[in-house]
Amino acid sequence: MKKTLLSLMALAAMAGTALAADVKPAVVYGTGGKFDKSFNEAAYNGAEKFKKETGIDYRDFEPTSDTQGEQALRNFASRGYNPVVAVSFAWTSALEKVAGEFPDTKFYIIDSVVDLKNVHSIVYKEEEGSYLVGLLAGMKAKSGKVGFVGGMDIPLIRKFACGYAQGAKAANAKTEVFQNMIGTTGAAWNDPVRAGELTKNQIDQGAEVIYAAAGASGLGVLQTAADNKKFSIGVDSNQNYLHPGSVLTSMVKGVDLAVYNAFSDVKNDKFAAGTQALGIKEGGVSAALDDSNKSLITPEMLAAVEKAKADIIAGTVKVHDYMSDNACPM
């Protein structure tokens, strides 16, 4: 009897390890690099949080060019990693291929949609978060001029720009919004020098608040704004602490939460294919407020943001999604 019990326990233990072994998470970052203090770093933080809480280790890969993503995804899938999280719109077509080849592996993609049975796509309503920071920018800029510096010229980034312009004009209908894109290739996420130069141009034209939606290049925008005693707005992660007193706020995307949820859903066997769009209502996007920017935000600005949030959730304010028709009414 004792023996049977022991063997049962051993069996149970084995079954337990077998279950845990099913979760071998892996992350493939975007080309901005793991520690871009922005988008990819948020994904990294989510993965680290999962590791800390569950003790389950994960593997990650930092592709340095647009062609490495597919290889990395296939590599992880073929070695039995599950789930595999692709943290960039850039891996969309790569994932379409790889997910078809490994139907038993669960894939997640952030910022893009792949319509397959074993893929869960997470997109954000960046236009809503950008609307909030645009509102703050519009209220902060006494000159009525604000700027936007985007990374790569793609519809996703135009979506940021469009929401931002709409927010800025909601604060003051006469607000002028300058818009620049750093480049048209993946290198645009890693070019802080050009980002800084574009920022300087906008400042010379009178912009007082500049919103950077440009991955690691955004650091150049923040730096230039701080050097010229103007305000900037960070993106994806909370970047307020980078230049306290100059970074007005950050448009935070809950990428960390998305990665964390991806890992734990597969761990708890709750994977569901499909697309999730996270906006203000779902807590997917927000404007960051903390000790570093407390002094820059007046109570009126805070109230306006809260009101805008409520209006967007209630549906009385509609923020235009650039990607729905590839055009911006602003």
């Binding site: 690099g33 620049n180 130069e197 574009l198 300087k200 010379d204």
Partner: protein, 323 residues
């Protein structure tokens, strides 16, 4: 904002974007005039940017950062010299190899030391070359015509910018008015004659590479701790090659080199500026056209307008003393 102000703002941008090109092209000038093709300018620039950012971050002193940048750049120059002068290797191969070494090594070391994806941490403001406001810049601001020019283009740059413009006449003086310069130019045209005169070709070419390394170190430091505040992967982004193009464009002469670099900087500034602007008659022009403009113009100018660019005769040929 009226047209003049836009023009002044663009000039300011031109100056900022031209400085790394000027340093690098002058570096190329010295080594190519001595008969050593220097395709490795890009790598030297990148390596010195990395060294400058690391040291400035660690010590909190911009000058030490600059010194480190110069040191690494000279070291790269000496390696290039060892391969292509002492061992008579192919200069292009050696230069390209150095570019690859720099691109890889900086990221690997950066990742190992700072684990920020190959970047260095942000260098604090005190450890950077801050803009210098020249006396009277604020007072002059509202003087018509000259005022904005003085306060936005001439004043408000960092010290390296002024050094770059000083280096141009200095290079001219060294190349055309000193014994060293005469010999250096001779060794690029006819090393045999220099050797016959009893002057060491090897030592002369090494010295040229040291001068080139010295100048290139400034450009890297400018990128990392003056223009921005950290080293970023591959932050030189092809500027070394553009400087090389400017050098050819300027027919290997110091003052034209400066103007060529300013022209390239201006085209870059123009491209940045014209993004998203409405043009009369045409409407908004896609940004890609403006971004391609500098390269198109370079091709056109190189093809039709400057005539034959004649490189130093002995360029790229390793010197063999006796057959």
């Amino acid at each position: 904002m009226d047209n003049y102000e836009i023009f002044v703002s663009m000039l300011g941008s031109t100056v900022r974007l031209s400085i790394p090109l000027i340093f690098t092209a002058l570096a190329g000038l010295f080594s190519e005039r001595a008969g050593i093709f220097d395709i490795g300018l890009e790598g030297k620039m990148l390596a010195s940017a990395f060294a400058a950012a690391c040291v400035a971050y660690a010590t909190g002193n911009a000058w030490l950062g600059l010194l480190a940048g110069i040191g690494i750049s000279i070291l790269f120059g000496l390696i290039h010299g060892f391969a292509s002068i002492t061992n008579r290797g192919n200069q292009i191969v050696s230069g390209v190899a150095l570019n690859f070494v720099a691109a890889g090594l900086t990221v690997v070391l950066g990742q190992a030391w700072f684990s920020q994806g190959g970047r260095t941490p942000q260098v604090p403001n005190g450890a950077r070359f801050d803009p210098i406001i020249l006396p009277g810049a604020e007072a002059m601001r509202h003087v018509p015509i000259i005022g904005p020019l003085y306060s936005q283009v001439i004043s408000g740059n960092n010290i390296l910018t002024y050094i770059a413009f000083l280096m141009v006449p200095l290079s001219w003086w060294v190349l055309y008015r000193t014994r060293f310069g005469l010999r250096l130019r001779a060794v690029g045209e006819n090393p045999g004659a220099v050797d016959t005169a009893g002057i060491s070709v090897t030592w002369l070419r090494y010295r040229a590479l040291i001068v080139a390394g010295f100048l290139c170190g400034f450009s890297g430091a400018y990128l990392a701790i003056a223009q921005s505040a950290a080293f970023i992967n591959n932050m030189s982004a092809g500027k070394g090659y553009i400087a090389l193009a400017a050098l050819i464009f300027a027919k290997w002469k110091p003052v034209p080199v400066m103007f060529a670099c300013l022209l390239f900087g201006f085209l870059d500034a123009f491209a940045n500026f014209m993004q998203g602007k409405q043009l009369p008659l045409v409407g908004e022009v896609p940004v890609q056209i403006f971004q391609a403009l500098p390269y198109i113009l370079t091709c056109v100018l190189l093809a039709g307008f400057i005539g034959v660019a004649r490189p130093p005769k002995a360029g790229g040929v390793p010197y063999t003393k006796e057959r």
